[in-house]
Amino acid sequence: MIAHGHSPLYYVGKLLTYALLAAGAFMMVLPFLWMVNASLMSAGEIQAQPPVWFPAEPRFSNYSRLLDVMPLPTLYGNSLFVTSATTAGVLLTSSLAGYAFAKYEFPGKSLLFMAILATMMVPAFVTLIPVFFVVRQFGWINTYQGLIVPGMISAYGIFLMRQFISTLPDELLDAARIDGASEPRIYVAIVLPLIAPALATLGTFTFIGSWNAFLWPLLIINDRALQTLPLGLNNLRTFAAEARNLDLLMAGTTLSVLPSLILFIFLQRYFIRGIALTGLKG
């Protein structure tokens, strides 16, 4: 920044910077590494004193034994279905409403938009009890729609989409109208492709949020066939409360955490961009 020189001090500074960064990153990754490592140990090794850092021989059998107590195919299947449906719903409703608020004039527009912004201020726990009641009135306890539908509308998503679609030039839409395109066609053929990056950002956030969601599924699902991954992990947690099942607990936690971490590593630029976007506009 200040000196471009290559004085010894400069190199010491650089070295120090990298050392601090490496130490921090190591701290961040260590619990995960230990978790994966411990998932291949025996329960005895995991709690050994003095600590054992690597398994004497990797016990992949922990994972096959895990399958007996944790219905992983069901849990993954449910989580994937619920999360995908929720994400698709959020993307559709947010982009439709965002498009209308950005590019149309209609009576009551600003009032409605203000109302949506106001709901962004309301934390989720305020609506927890009444939404539970609503969902129960609908007969949606222990159903997929109970898990999916209440999460399909996002005030934040509508806001984000409106901001993004506002930046698209009106001429583009008007040109399509002159060519005789209908309004839904303009949305599908012109708006949607142009907002793909914003959709990717909103989609990744919604996906992770929904994938990790725990409290709402805990409330409305007790049918084992409909449980999502966090519910399965919670069951495992109570089952493996005893020290002798620690190997299963670590294997189960590893398999719960891995999908979102892998997804993140592939989609990380959408997250980073999304966070930078919301943070700086905020």
Binding site: M1, I2, T17, L20, G24, M27, M28, P31, M35, I46, Q47, Q49, P50, P51, T93, A97, Y99, A100, Y104, E105, F106, K109, L112, T119, V122, A124, F125, V126, T127, L128, I129, P130, V131, F133, V149, P150, A155, I158, E183, I208, N212, F214, L229, P230, L233, L246, L249, T253, V257, S260, L261, F264, I265, Q268, F271, I275, A276, G279, L280, G282
Partner: protein, 309 residues
């Protein structure tokens, strides 16, 4: 906009002009989200406010709820022994975690903002815990901090230090929870501060260094003031988020020992879904909501005043 002549040659303009047609489409586009909002946000908020003035177990019909006026609120604030503790714990948790992470996040963002190699990799590593389900981190750290067989205690013993009760201790449990929250979210702060730092033009620093400013002065008079909007944003959003903590506490301490880690949302959950006191629980939600609004307004004011100065 001019009315498009119709092919029929009718002298009167048709009702469905292109403008009207567009307006109708706009309503169609917003209708589904708005109906959803009514059913799952607006209606529930109003209903919850109404419920908070009653005794209700969610089983008796809605029109037979027993009216209690503000009793639920006064009970929580004056009689209830747990609720004030839960409020206090929630605040300690939020303030501890957010403050530490503003400092750490800015610090590491400054380190990363000096033409560092492998920036993407560093960012990914720091961000991993943010992506992890709080429940899963609760399970993992619940083991690491276990008083009897946790890895951390085993390491401490190897170093000749006495075993610590950690999550089982009334005095240490909250600190451990704050530590886990710092660990989980510091990456978010780093990413957001780094984006803020990258938005500051290099010219400012060049000008300052021409004027003879040292590094600390550049930070104090350029970086820090220009990051104020970012700081404001992370303070507001993360305080609101931290005040709602549930999963982590549920998976580690369950609010114990002796309610020392009981938080508002966990207490609300227990009151509503274990003891079926919907009115009392709704009142809790509104008290915390009111506090969150006040905190947000105060934070906005404070930051705006300083910016104006």
């Amino acid at each position: 906009m001019a009315t498009v002549p119709t092919s029929s040659g009718d002298a009167r303009a048709p009702w469905l002009t292109p403008t009207r047609r567009r307006t109708l489409w706009a309503y169609a586009f917003v209708s589904i989200p708005l109906i959803g909002m009514l059913i799952f946000f607006v209606g529930p908020i109003l209903f919850s406010g109404w419920v908070s003035l009653h005794d209700w177990n969610m089983i008796t019909p809605v029109n037979e709820m027993r009216w209690r006026g503000l009793d639920n609120y006064t009970h929580l604030l004056t009689v209830d022994e747990v609720f004030p503790k839960a409020l206090m714990n929630t605040f300690i948790f939020a303030i501890g975690g957010v403050t530490a992470n503003v400092v750490l996040g800015l610090g590491f963002a400054l380190l990363l903002n000096q033409r560092i190699r492998f920036l993407t990799i560093w960012r990914v590593l720091y961000f991993l815990p943010v992506m992890t389900a709080p429940l899963a981190l609760g399970v993992l750290f619940g083991f690491l901090f276990n008083r009897n067989y946790g890895l951390i205690n085993n390491v401490l013993v190897s170093l000749g230090i006495q075993r610590q009760p950690f999550l089982a201790s009334p005095d240490q449990a909250m600190m451990v929870l704050i530590f886990i929250a710092i660990y989980q979210y510091v990456g978010y702060y780093i990413v957001i501060y780094l984006a803020g730092l990258q938005g500051i033009p290099q010219d400012y620093y060049d000008a300052a260094s021409v004027d003879g400013a040292n590094r600390w002065q550049s930070f104090r008079f350029i970086t820090f003031p220009l990051l104020r909007p970012v700081t404001l944003f992370v303070l507001v959003t993360n305080t609101i988020g931290a005040l709602q903590v549930f999963d982590l506490v549920f998976a580690t301490t369950g609010g114990g020992p002796a309610n020392r880690t009981m938080t508002v949302v966990l207490y609300m959950y227990n009151t509503a879904f274990k003891f079926s006191r919907m009115g009392r629980a709704s009142a809790m939600a509104f008290i915390l909501f009111a506090i969150i609004l006040v905190v947000t307004i105060v934070q906005l004011r404070l930051m705006r005043d300083r910016t104006a100065r």
